[in-house]
Symmetry: C2
Subunit: 401 residues, 2 copies
């Protein structure tokens, strides 16, 4: 097992506070690995001064670094295996020496501040959960993504890490999102909206209704702004939108798919007549800028919050530019002490009315937290293997229940 023998987490955190640790970059994940990954990493070092360590097959990385005249300027940690792009939660067990697992190991040992990967989301989430473990007090982790609103992006979480969530889990997501927004958006009291199906408090399914009650009633250090609807995802009226990983994933992909369809249709409409084609020529630059801003490939990717370390998951299709942004983001979150900020934020919710279910609990990635009984093993978007899963199917098979 990785992580044994390294300094304990508090020690590592103290060290990190002294001097900036490098960000570990998984060079083996993503459709364009390792070429684009290394290119993006080089740019992050060259243009933005981010300290990095590259994890992956050393000869390949060295070859890529040579192309950029950068050999010896970024340290390399060798890893033999890569997670496949279609690999899910099982990978975390099957490949203990994958580049993602090694990168997690570096974070746990206090040799890296954060990790960046463009590998399969399910595989990265499962591996990170297993290797980094959940933070003290955090029931379940969440993936935070940014939506392309103006003047600043809106943070949506969870985008798919935890699909079956309790109302108390949603309250914690509000705390994670608040800590994240403070660093990313530099807003002191980010407003948090709860994604549901009507603005009135009583609208939603059972989980959302109860989460509304908890958020509206408690003093969690969370600036709760009430319910928001699907319409409001791009309205930019709150800084953070909280939902379960199932709804969040569907909503995010719906938004991305709709933007793609709208632009495809617009392009078709613009080529439909000579006058329209002429019009399109005159507008090309403006529309390209707009498209770039709204394109998931440019704003995409997510951050896995709630573990003992920062994990930035870039899009699988990431090119160099996206990797550079991901490295910068990881560096910024580590410098902002996101893990500590989340600890404080979650502690604030813990000292509130529902203290009893969070004391001492945390997500180990192996056994489900006590307060969150569905034993799904903590996999993102993936059926979980292992003994902990044994009961779920039979439970689900009582149709009249």
């Amino acid at each position: 097992m990785t992580g044994k023998g390294g300094p304990s987490r508090p020690e590592a955190a103290r060290r990190a506070a002294v001097r900036p640790l490098p960000v570990a970059v998984d060079t083996m994940g993503g459709d364009h690995a390792p070429g684009e990954i290394v290119a993006g990493a080089v740019e992050a070092v060259r243009a933005h001064g981010v300290r990095l360590v590259l994890v992956g097959q050393a000869p390949g990385i060295r070859r890529e670094l040579e192309r950029h005249g950068f050999v010896g300027r970024i340290p390399i940690v060798h890893a033999d295996e890569a997670l496949d792009m279609d690999e899910g939660a099982l990978a975390s067990w099957r490949k203990p020496r994958s580049s993602v697992a090694i990168a997690c190991h570096l974070v746990r040992q206090g040799r890296a501040s954060a990790l960046v990967s463009a590998g399969s989301t399910a595989g990265v989430v499962a591996t990170s959960r297993l290797r980094l473990k959940g933070q003290q007090g955090v029931l379940r982790p969440a993936i935070a993504v940014t939506l392309p609103t103006r003047p600043r992006p809106t943070i949506l979480l969870d985008a798919g890490a935890t699909v079956d969530v309790k109302p108390e889990g949603l309250v914690q997501f509000a705390a994670l999102g608040t800590a994240y927004a403070r660093i990313l958006l530099e807003v002191e009291r980010p407003r948090v909206g709860l994604l549901t199906i009507g603005v009135e408090p009583g609208k939603g399914d059972k989980v959302a209704k109860r989460a509304h009650e908890l958020l509206a009633g408690g003093h969690h250090g969370v600036e709760f702004a009430g319910n928001v609807e699907g319409h409001d995802l791009l309205a930019g009226e709150v800084e953070v939108i909280v939902t379960d990983g199932f709804t969040g994933n569907v909503a995010l992909k719906t938004m991305e798919g709709t933007i793609r369809t709208a632009f495809t249709e617009i392009r078709a409409a613009m080529g439909a007549s000579p006058a329209a084609r002429m019009g399109a020529l005159l507008q090309r630059r403006r529309l390209q800028e707009l498209r770039d801003r709204l394109d998931p490939d440019s704003y995409g990717g997510g951050v896995l919050l709630g573990l003992n370390g920062t994990v930035v998951i870039a899009h699988g299709g990431s090119h160099a530019r996206a990797i550079t942004s991901a490295c910068e983001l990881a560096h910024r979150l580590a410098a902002g002490h996101i893990v500590e900020r989340i600890r404080e934020q979650v502690a604030a919710t813990r000292t509130s009315r529902f203290g009893r279910w969070t004391h001492g609990e945390r997500d180990t990635g192996e056994t489900p937290a006590l307060a969150d009984p569905p034993p799904d093993g903590g996999a993102a978007e993936e059926p979980s293997p292992g003994a902990a899963d044994g009961e779920a199917p039979s439970e689900q098979r009582r149709p009249g229940e």
Copy 2:
């Protein structure tokens, strides 16, 4: 109570088969009632030969009919009260003589084949459930909406009638959607996709995973095409997309909001420079056509499926044209015997492996169906009143559960 003393439902159905019954139009629902409602109804009669009966305050309706020179050509049934646009499920109890309740009464009595309302969705759903009752064998009703795909629209259900749903409920929604698609899209074997967060069978929350198993394993007369994701809502690769009312409502509104934002941004981009403005002039017509096609106000509205009668819910903001379409749709569904088709389709799922939980059960709108324990009183997007609701909050208030 309404509905007493009328002919029994089988009798009414037999009668309906003999000659087309009129569609009951609620003239008091919607932001532009009664003017635009009556105007749309007149057009449906004049241009499309749909038989109608107008329900609402008779003097007002007569005044509107006069403006169109149509007095005496559409029968009027008087109703005193209207549901307010912000009225929810409580309205169904509070206003037993509302125009929607009277329209339901006409359907129950076999004096109308279907009803059309642009009133508050929650109010119309709750009133219809109470007055028309659930069809034999249908656990919970669903709102089916159409998404603007090409060459033909895609049907999405549930868009918000039933927010907490069991896997078996999703299987029934697949049956409802199949029956609806056969009539609306004239496709013999419509393909049904299950909305979740990955195409592999094991992706999704517990409900979606189990629903996938049931749909993939059973012989329900449903052409199951596997999972679809948020990306696929506008892809047009299946005819029917099935999900719970919470996710469906969020996804639909996300799509609508994204389309609106995209067009707003495009308009801004087009006015941003003289060249772009010139381009916009040259394209105006094409983009307007596209906008019309994608605008929720033109394709919007939904059909409430699973009750003893067809209920078409038009957008609250409907103008005459939308009301005309809604009247035509209601007529077409009634002529296609949608209620009988649903009965057959649901019977096909009932004779399959999970027969035991549907025999004799149906949604009464008052007490929850046995197989669907959460006693939410059956309200759409609304907290439900009444005794049946008494247990839910205390159940939800055990945070450590």
